[in-house]
Every structure is written in C-alpha cells, then in structure tokens.
Amino acid sequence: MEALSVPAALELVAGGGAGLSPERRAALGTSLPLLQRDYRFERVWFWGCIQGVRGAYYIAEGLGPDRAAPRSRLYSLNCVDWSLLTPATKEMLALAEQVKGRFQGDPSFEYHLAEINAEAAASVIESGKEPVMKEEARLIATIEQIDRAVGIVPRGAFVKTPLGSVHENRHFEGLSLVEAKKLSSYFHFTDPVNLKNKTLLEKANLDPSTDFLDSLEHDIPRGSWSIQLEKGGTVVVLRSLLWLGLTFYHVPMTKQFGYVYFGTGEKNLDLPFML
C-alpha cells in the first residue's frame, strides 16, 4: 500500500484482524517519507509484516520511475530504522523453498541445511560455501516469492508506455462493482508468464497498454483467491489462500487500492486439501 495512504488502507484491511499498533503506525508515518528522501524513491510502499517467533519484520518497498522494474526492499524490526535488502538470487530462492517452519525473528539466525535437506546441503558444500542459510536471505527470498505469486493490482491501474516503462494510469477511476467481483480484473504485478501462451484470438482483444500482465483467472489451484465485499460493498477485499495473510483491498469507482501482507511468511502447501 502507498505510504501516504497507510492509515486509511489499514482500516480497510483490518477485516482479517491483523494490523499495526498505533505506535508502529506513527513510526511509519515518519520513517517512510524519510526513506523516500534518502533513497530517492519515487514511491514507497508499505509491504507488510512477517511475524517471527520472537519478533516481527516490517517490510517496505521503494519504486523508481519505472514501476515494473525490480523494487528495492527494506526491512525494519521497529518501523524506525530501516536496512536495505539485497536483491533475490536464484540460489536464495531455491534454498528458501527447502527451509520450512516459522521465521525466528532474528535476522542473523542461521538455518542448518544439513538438518533440513541433506542433498541441498551437499550441493551447497560443493559450491564452496557453508551449508547454512541466514534468516535474512530467507526473508529476501520469501518476499520475492510472495510478490511474484500474489502481488496484485487492478486492471487499468498501470499503463505501459511504448518505450516499455510502466507508470500509474492517471485516468484510472477504479473498477466498477461488477468488474470488481471478477478475478479477471486483477493482474499479478510481476513479469507475465502466461501472456504469451494466449491464442491470437484472445490477444486481439487485449489492449497492449493496460493488458500487459497476467490476470488472476488462471491461477493454479483454482479457487486460491477469496473475494469478499466488505462493508456492504464499499470495499472489495481479496485474500490469498496460497500465502495466508496477503490481503488486497480496492474501493470500487475510486483510485484507492493496495495490498499488504500480515502473516507468518509460510506458503500454504495444504491448499488443495483445504478447498
């Protein structure tokens, strides 16, 4: 969610029971603008909070002029002091899939891969590093996975210019109530995967300036999103069932939308059994 709209957005997302305490909210109000100044971001998003066993990580993302470029991520333990996270690498992502269980809450905690998965440990040892994974790396990988899998925006909110860069659409006035209830009106805000697999007939109907991302319709497994109209239809809330805790809100016919993650940072692998 946009840093400026955090107070209003938290009210809309509170249906799931998770939120921020007044202290953290106030701290965010002061530290996010400072982040924007120091790192020269054009936009700062409050991404959410990952609950560890002993502490919580608060995550913020900074965007540059091209909104679709890889975002810089920062984390904090108290919403006041922020540290920049390095971008995620493929090895980090692969190793993070092996590590299961809750986050500990301490960024320097080390997961011993030998206990978890002997093969992964062996492969890491071969590459000349120690078979441990730091919690910070796991954090980076988890945030990247969540963003890729379930970070969503409404259709039409972003436009792609002919030069390839992506901007907010100033003429976006919000989805109508009918559109807001459909999964096809929401896109994953990452590099599209399914777009090129569409038939020519489907592609002919797309508008290249707004339909350049994957929609949620073809997410596997089907039914991994819960759409609800809260407050009698004034807010549309989408909750992901794959990453429990990710909540997306949008007020139809207005420009307000955003997503936030309040959860434990674990993928819900039991989803097919639970539906």
Partner: protein, 564 residues
C-alpha cells in the same frame, strides 16, 4: 448549400434551379435552359429570378423536395435540420451567431441522437451497498422496552454485555483487531443478541474468515433453565434403536440360515456428547456473517465431531449449511465443523493470568472432574513486565480436550453394558479395555504447553517498548495462529482472528483409507481341493473293503475265542 453542385449525387429533376444546372456545365442544353439562350430574352446566368411563375413554383417545390431528402447515412434531412437550427437560434438568441453557426449545427445534430424519453427505462441498480447500510442502520435504532432493560440490570450484578470497545482498544495496542467501525457494529449486534436471547454472560469470541463470507462468533452462557431439552430426547432415541438392532440380530442368526449371513460387526458404541453446561459444551455459541444479520445458534458439539475435525483441514465457506466433503467423512455440515473448531481453539488457547481464577473448593482441586472455578477476590495482578517475561503467569481456564473428544473421559464399554443386558457375554472382550485418559487438570500454567519442534507454544511481547509504564502484555499462540490474549492491570481477554486452523510444522497428510476387510477365515471345509480321479476312488474303495473284511475276520475270531 455547402456541397458543390458537381458532387451532388442526387439526380436533378429537369425543372430544378437553372443556376445550378448552368454551373454544372452539362450539355447539350435544353431549350428552357439558359445556355440555349434562345427563348429567354434578357436572361442573365446570374439572375436568380425565374420569370415564369409556374416554373418558379415548380422550382421551389423541387428545391424543397431536395431539402427534405433524407440522408442515407444519418437519417436526417436538411430541411428539418435547418428548421431546428433556426428554432434554436431564435429561442436562445446567442451573440455573434454567425461565428458559432457551425457549432450550433453540430449541437443540434447531437441532440437528435439523444433519446428523449424511452418507454423502457433501466431500473436504477440498487447496489448491495445500500442494503447492507440499511441493515447496519437497523442496529442503531434503539429497541423498545427500555423499562424492562433497567429492571433486568438491577437484578443481575454484572451487565451481560461486554465492553467490546474497551477490549478492542487493548488489542489495538498490539496491532490486533478489526477497525473501530466494525467493532462498534459488533458491539451493537451483541446488544441485540442479549435483548433477544435469555443470556447470562456474553463475550465476543472472535472472527473466523471464510471463502465467501466470514463468521463473527459470540460466546454465551444461557440463563439456567432456558436451555432446550430436545437434545436429551435425541440421545435416548438413538440408544433405544441400538437395542432393537442388536436384539434382532441375535434372533435372526439363529433362525434364518437360508438368507445371506448377517454381518456380526457391531460398530463401537458412539461416545456420548457432554451435557450442556459442562466440558466442551460449557458455552453456547452464536454466529452471524456480518453485524446486522441475524444470529444463529450453533448446535452442541459431539466427541466424534471433534475427533474427525482433528483429522481434516478445510476452509470455511461462510455458509452454515454447506457440506464438508472430506475423508474421513465429517459427521455434519459446516455449522458442526465450525463448532468443533471453536471448541478446539477455546480449549487450546483460552488463558487468564494465574491466580485470577481459583477452584471453588479445595477438595475439588484434586478431583479429575474439576470443572468449576470462580474468580479469586484476592487476585493481585503481576506487573506487565513479569507477565511478558514468564509464561508461568498465565494459566488455562478451559479444560483440554482428550483424545476421545471429550473433556471428561467416559468408558464406552461400560455404558453399553448398562443398556444391553442380553449380550453381556459377547460384550466382555478382555483385550479391548480402553485406558482411562487423563488430561492436564483445569488451571495448568501455560509454561507446561509443549512446543512444536523448536517453536514454543506461545509468544509473549509487550505492546510497546518505548512507554513501558502503559504497555500491555500480549500473548500470541503459535499452535493456533490467530489466537491472542492480553493482560493489563487486572483486565484480560482472549480473542481469535484467523482462518480457524491449527498450525502444524509438517504438511497436512490426509488419513489413509482403512485396509481392505479380511475375508472369511479359511478352513478345510471350504478350501478347494482337487477332485479325486477315478483310479484314486477305486483304490480308496478297495482299501475300504479290505479294511471291512479284516474287521469281520477279527470279530469272528473274537467270537470264536469267546465261545471257547
């Protein structure tokens, strides 16, 4: 006319404007046309007037007919268009008309296409927003009968309605809870519930999220004597049926051998549910999807439902009558599953500061069945720092659920003996005595809760480190993510916001189907053997005859021996 006459596609009747015909420059000239110039003395190509009145009338008529022609593209005609423009101009009398004449013409054309009054009009869409707002508004209307309310409050020492906003405030210090509007709606909805139902104590238990709708849950204790007695009758009905079935089985086995063999399998007797007011059914739960919608009472929970709920993991859809499709098949629909999960969550995560509750009598403390507790009047709340530091300052005040699915263990074999006296001999199966299960006693400290792998069962934190004198101690459960408790001064409360599932470090594995049933035990009577061949039969017959002959000889010898 704007269009040059050369491009005019319509056919010009012969008597049309002579000027146009001349400008078009076609030949050969007709006698009446000016180019001919013979029978029109003094005719000038630039002269507008047509001297012959008949021809002029015809020319005017033709001109008008031309103007009235409908355009093939838009269905308008120039005559009407001009009439409208002039009407509009004369009505509105704008300044500098000649400069804006093209715009006026365009506007008039636009106006043509706007439907004036369609006989079919769209019904104004009533978005569901307004309906929901209506329902919420109903919450704010104060119910009649204010005098009754005052009377009720005087009778009872404590008000039944909890202070939801105060609890919400404390939880908000930890970042937990719904937004204030929703909390207030829930507050009002609880007030309505208390007005409608005979309730002694009431508490906002929490919110469980579902796929299509969510559940708001209130934990309630009904006033004594008001509970329904239907459930008692149901229980008796089922046991009577069981008796009849076993009696019939015994008789049929003996009499009918022609029919297919009846199964002698008797399913284990169902474990009876705990009576209302004790154990897992201590509280009654009411749910609604949204504040403003009517409250629905959840049925009491049975041990089989709890046992099955432990084995499955399903999302709630939000509809209480939705079926639960699972293996092992859940005995009930979503309302029962919801009730079972609520019972499990309450038993696992409802805590209070140690010492807040004490046992009524000291003797009961030693009994296993201690179910009642009361508030300790001498309770002194420990400081918040201590509540955060040590888990020994918190204790469970709800009995844990045993493996059987009840809080108090019951021996199912014993109960069935009382009912079925005929089959005592069959029931005494020595090898299947079930061991009495013992759970932790009632007010155990939560420091004794086991963690999972290396994750402790509970996480404590203070709501703020910057202002320790006003911070609140917050407890989060790791076994049931979404269960929270706070304590500050003498106040404490439990709440649940989540999806209603237990946390397990390993992935969920569904129960495997039971092994295939064993076949009828084999024996020599039914084992197939190869039929004897003819030679074998003959040999057998000869052997038998020889044996007979030998036996006769022996008898004869014995008889002869005896005669002697």
């Amino acid at each position: 006319m704007d269009r040059p006459p050369e491009l005019d596609p319509s056919q010009e009747p012969e008597g049309a404007d002579l000027q146009d015909a001349y400008e078009r420059g076609h030949g050969p000239y007709q006698p009446h046309e000016p180019g001919y110039g013979l029978d029109q003395p003094g005719y000038n190509p630039y002269e507008d007037e047509i001297p012959d009145p008949q021809a002029r009338m015809l020319a005017v008529k033709n001109a008008k007919a031309y103007l009235l022609k409908t355009s093939t593209k838009s269905g308008l005609n120039l005559y009407d268009h001009f009439a409208n423009i002039l009407t509009k101009i004369l009505d509105e009398q704008p300044t500098n008309t000649v400069d804006i004449i093209e715009n006026i013409s365009k506007d008039v054309k636009w106006a043509q296409f706007r439907k004036k009054m369609d006989t079919l009009r769209d019904e104004p869409l009533i978005p569901p927003t307004f309906e929901a707002a209506e329902k919420c508004k109903a919450l704010f209307v104060k119910q009649g009968g204010e005098e009754e309310h005052e009377g009720v409050e005087e009778e009872m020492g404590r008000p039944a309605l909890p202070n939801v906003m105060e609890v919400a405030f404390y939880f908000e210090q930890a970042g937990i809870g719904l937004n204030k509007d929703e909390s207030y709606y829930i507050f009002l909805a609880l007030k309505n519930l208390i007005d409608v139902q005979p309730i002694q104590t009431c508490r906002f238990w929490g919110k469980i999220l579902g796929l299509e709708m969510n559940y708001i849950i209130a934990e309630v204790q009904l006033r004594e004597g008001e509970e329904e007695e239907e459930t008692g009758e149901e229980g008796e009905g089922t046991t009577a049926e069981e008796e009849k079935e076993t009696g019939e089985d015994g008789e049929e086995d003996e009499e009918k051998e022609a029919g297919p063999p009846k199964s002698t399998y008797k399913p284990p007797p169902p474990i009876p549910k705990e009576p209302n007011g004790t154990g897992t059914n201590k509280y009654v739960y009411f749910v609604c999807n949204e504040p403003g919608k009517p409250w629905v009472k959840l049925p009491p929970v049975t041990p089989t439902q709890i046992v099955c709920a432990r084995k499955i993991k399903k999302f709630f859809t939000g509809w209480l009558d939705a079926p639960i499709v699972s293996f092992p098949p859940f005995p009930g629909n979503e309302a029962n599953y919801l009730r079972a999960q609520i019972a499990r969550i309450s038993a696992g995560t409802h805590v209070s500061p140690t010492g807040f509750y004490q046992f009524a009598d000291e003797e009961e403390e030693e009994e296993e069945g201690a179910d009642t507790y009361e508030e300790n009047p001498d309770f002194e709340p420990p400081p918040v720092a201590e509540m955060v530091e040590s888990l020994a300052t918190w204790a469970h005040h709800v009995k844990g659920i045993l493996k059987q699915g009840r809080c108090v263990w019951i021996n199912p074999v014993q109960k069935s003996e009382e009912n079925e006296e005929d089959d005592e001999e069959e029931e005494e199966e020595e090898g299947e005595e079930q061991q009495e299960e013992r759970g932790p006693p009632l007010l155990t400290l939560i420091s004794e809760d086991e963690g999972m792998k290396d994750i402790p069962a509970w996480t404590t934190q203070a709501s703020t480190n910057l202002i320790p004198e006003y911070s609140v101690a917050i407890l989060q459960s790791n076994r049931w993510p979404g269960a929270y408790a706070f304590a500050s001064g003498g106040k404490f409360e439990n709440i649940y916001f989540g999806w209603g599932h237990k946390y397990s470090p390993e992935s969920y594995t569904p129960e495997l189907p039971p092994p295939a049933e064993a076949e009828f035990p084999g024996g020599p009577e039914i084992t197939e053997t190869v039929d004897p061949t003819v030679e074998e039969e003959m040999a057998f017959k000869i052997a038998q005859e020889e044996a007979l002959a030998e036996a006769e000889e022996e008898e004869e010898e014995e008889e002869e021996g005896e005669d002697d």
